[in-house]
């Protein structure tokens, strides 16, 4: 009963939030619209990253997987002249395939070894993009990547998704669908099994769970959505280069996820939204930004180890104690 009313709450929140989000860019000056776009992409990244962390592994290759999606879609549409509407989902699938391939060496490791292994694999992939001028364009990367376009019957010119508002709306739909799928996945049997594989690996094996398979599934599914985000990103920007996916950017994902908290689905989203908004507000202290991030990270580890998601609960607890103290 509780879960049913909670579900209603979610639907209600979505019913209010979604139209608001869809309407938002129309009220923003054009130079703020991009902020929303990159924020949505980051949301996709952190939520797909969370799926990987569900199986208990902390990966450092997620950003590079996003790049895989970007490169794949760019190459498919540019060099193979594939329709962009096809190249994007295909790129996401290809990214999942790359992750599947990488999972053979990587998922033999766990914990620290996986962390470092994923980092090494990511750097190796990135160096390969730099080293092979054909097809990846070398250190300069690729440019003049065809944009998404849609020929609508009532418009003379095709609708171009290089324009922020159409792209934003498309991205909003894709993000919502992705989030919904990831949410369902987590709350399905598979999510529960991943939980099991993470926290009680021996028990899982003992009752017949092939944990390697589930870890691979999480890794590849996470890669799929990262690749999807990367592919969309690349067709919006029209260019891609290897430096965009360096370890520094990956560390930001880690920071968002950790500050937001990984216990619940909403945690990483809260993390990325709060920090990105703060980031915009403190834009003039740009040179201090990494240090501010670092400090927030240290403080939140110390005082809010379960992330921002735990803040409301904690405040409620504090309030209750206050009230109890006042009454007592």
């Amino acid at each position: 009963m509780n879960s049913a009313s909670r579900r209603h709450g979610w639907w209600l929140a979505a019913a209010v939030l979604l139209p608001a989000l869809a309407a938002l860019p129309f009220f923003l000056p054009f130079h703020r619209q991009d902020f929303m776009i990159f924020l949505l992409l980051d949301v996709m990244l952190v939520v797909s990253y969370r799926l990987v962390t569900l199986s208990g592994e902390w990966s450092l290759i997620h950003m590079v997987l996003m790049g895989c999606g970007g490169y794949a879609s760019a190459l498919l549409s540019k060099r193979a002249d594939l329709l962009v509407w096809l190249s994007i989902p295909l790129a996401a699938l290809l990214t999942a395939a790359v992750a599947l391939l990488l999972s053979f060496p990587l998922l033999r490791m766990r914990g620290f070894y996986f962390l470092i292994g994923s980092y090494a694999a990511g750097e190796a992939v990135r160096l390969a993009w730099k080293y092979f001028v054909y097809p990846f364009g070398g250190p300069k990367g690729l440019k003049l990547i065809p944009p998404l376009e849609l020929q609508l019957p009532f418009l003379e010119q095709p609708l171009s998704f290089v324009e922020p508002i159409p792209f934003y709306l498309l991205l909003l739909v894709v993000t919502c669908v992705s989030l919904l799928l990831l949410y369902r996945l987590e709350h399905s049997r598979i999510g529960l099994t991943l939980h099991m594989v993470h926290w009680q690996p021996s028990l899982a094996e003992a009752v017949g769970v092939n944990s390697w398979r589930y870890r691979t599934l999480a890794f590849a599914c996470g890669a799929f959505f990262a690749g999807l985000a990367g592919a969309l990103f690349v067709h919006y920007l029209g260019s891609i280069n290897p430096n965009q996916f360096a370890i520094g950017e990956m560390l930001y994902i880690l920071v968002w996820v950790i500050i937001g908290g990984t216990r619940t689905f909403a945690g990483p989203v809260i993390g990325v939204v709060v920090l990105s908004v703060l980031n915009e507000i403190f834009r003039q202290y740009d040179e201090w930004r990494p240090a501010i991030y670092g400090l927030i990270l240290l403080l939140s580890m110390r005082f809010l180890p379960d992330g921002l998601e735990s803040l409301p609960g904690r405040l409620r607890g504090l309030w209750r104690r206050r009230v109890a103290a006042a009454q007592g």
């Binding site: 490791m109 620290f112 090494a120 190796a124 160096l127 670092g294 927030i296 990270l297 580890m301």
Partner: protein, 289 residues
């Protein structure tokens, strides 16, 4: 022939640095099970100390070196006390804290020294050693190599022959059993971190006149240290030194005979291969998660 010998000389100098970087990292991981992502930044702080004190204030180089070791050692102790000790139960916590610190240290370096061109640290020992077969080693590099070797030997002696070293090894093998033996795991943790940090600081100080001293110099350090630590078997000091020598020779020869880009890429592939085939590395025997 000259080319081979010169390359061997180059590789030897590199081995010294690589081992110094990696040994500190391995010590900290081996004893406390914490991956210190800010290890490269500790090297950077060492180098900046030398830049400020030796190049800036005119202090004699050996003094600046000592100061760098002490300052970074202090930094390490603070990290252990405030960032790692409270998170003993959660190995990821220590890692994340070290990432937070990494950002802060980099920004501080930018604020102190600015961006732009590398910080100028003139060599304390100018001149070149001219060996037979036209092999040449800059005196500064030779000194750095000798000091590195001396430090590594000292660490080896400490770990093998002293009671402190015995306690350190005991803690790294089994923390609970060591505690039952009456060893204070807390103190040993402080000691390992202090020693590892001092080694990193010394490495940075020794290198300061030889490399780019800039806020982000730690990046290259941490990659190399990871490769070396993994190939050597994380937690094994001897493995780390062996791997450092192998990797330095590999990297030097591939760079000399093929290209630098290829050397870096192959290095990563080798690390991956080792992780897949023998995750415990060349000399490591335990798996730690």
């Amino acid at each position: 022939m000259e080319l081979v010998l010169q390359s061997i000389a180059n590789a030897l100098v590199q081995s010294g640095f690589f081992s110094l970087w990696a040994v500190g990292l391995v010590l900290i991981f081996g004893v406390m099970g914490i991956i210190n992502f800010a290890h490269g930044e500790m090297v950077m702080v060492g180098a900046y100390t030398v830049w400020l004190l030796y190049a800036g204030q005119g202090l004699p180089f050996p003094l600046a070196l000592l100061a760098a070791a002490l300052i970074v050692c202090l930094l390490g102790l603070c990290m252990e006390r405030f960032l790692f000790q409270p998170f003993r139960e959660n190995p990821l916590g220590g890692l994340i804290n070290s990432i937070g610190l990494l950002f802060i240290l980099q920004v501080l370096a930018v604020q102190i020294g600015g961006l732009g061109l590398m910080k100028h640290v003139p060599p304390a020992f100018p001149g070149t050693l001219e060996l037979p077969f036209e092999v040449r080693i800059p005196v500064q590099r030779a000194v750095a190599l000798v000091v590195s070797l001396g430090l590594l030997a000292a660490v080896g002696w400490l770990l093998t022959w002293t009671r402190l070293g015995w306690a350190l090894r005991a803690v790294s093998m089994d923390r609970e059993a060591a505690a039952l033996q009456g060893i204070s795991v807390r103190r040993i943790g402080m000691f390992a971190m202090g020693l590892g940090a001092a080694l990193a600081g010394t490495a940075g100080a020794l290198m300061a006149p030889l490399v780019r001293v800039e806020p982000y110099m730690g990046h290259a350090v941490i990659i190399t240290a990871f490769i070396v630590a993994i190939v050597g078997g994380i937690g094994s000091i001897r493995g780390a030194v062996l791997a450092a020598v192998l990797y330095a020779f590999f990297h030097t020869f591939v760079t000399t005979y093929y290209s630098g880009t290829l050397a870096t890429m192959l290095g990563l592939f080798i690390m991956l291969l080792v992780l897949v085939i023998k995750p415990t590395g060349l000399m490591g025997s335990r798996l730690r998660e």
